[in-house]
Symmetry: C2
Subunit: 121 residues, 2 copies
């Protein structure tokens, strides 16, 4: 029961849902997610921690960056099915064009550049 509650609570925040959508096609590092969501780094870090705790995302380190990606095929069935539900129903038609533009910009921009921008703030 607790694993299910952890999943449902992790999904109960709009920004966390958006982060999961952003990870649909590829991994992203924290500063890319920061850019996409428009939140403070500490806030994004906490949100991603909640998603990771629930098993919905995984992490890997590369260089100075930590990349977050959606949980893979070996994730528990409740996680896999929840992600399937989410991605099925949050297709492109339900995402605002503003969010789509932001996401395209994030995909296009080097993490190095984004991190430099955020360091300035």
């Amino acid at each position: 029961m607790n694993d299910i509650v952890n999943i449902t609570k992790a999904l109960a925040d709009e920004n966390r849902l958006k982060a999961l959508i952003a990870l649909r096609d590829r991994e992203l590092c924290v500063c890319q997610i920061i850019e996409f969501l428009g939140l403070a780094g500490s806030t994004v870090s906490k949100h991603m921690s909640i998603l990771k705790q629930a098993g919905l995302v995984k992490t890997r380190k590369q260089g100075r960056w930590i990349y977050y990606g959606l949980a893979g095929r070996n994730a528990p069935a409740p996680v896999r099915d929840a992600l399937r539900w989410l991605l099925k129903h949050l297709n492109s038609g339900r995402i605002s064009s503003a969010d789509k533009k932001k996401l395209e910009k994030v995909y296009r921009t080097d993490p190095e550049v984004l991190c430099r921008i955020h360091r300035r703030k």
Copy 2:
């Protein structure tokens, strides 16, 4: 997007999940749900209102009682799929025996009797 967020937020409470599980096999009136969850009537009413707002449950009135039931086949796909996810992964093996006993007692007891009990408190 908002409909999805409403669903995920509605599912992000253990008592609400339990209420949905209780409704799996049959409709229940408020005082039966009160008995099962062991919460105040006003609390149960608010929880069920959230579930109804999210489209996860429907209501019908019979006599003095309002019966809550799971959303039906004509519910929107996100709702149907979310319920399918929940019921699939919250099968009997994941529910405590205490909860199972409570639920069996609730199924067995006439609403008339339960309501009288709760009126005394």
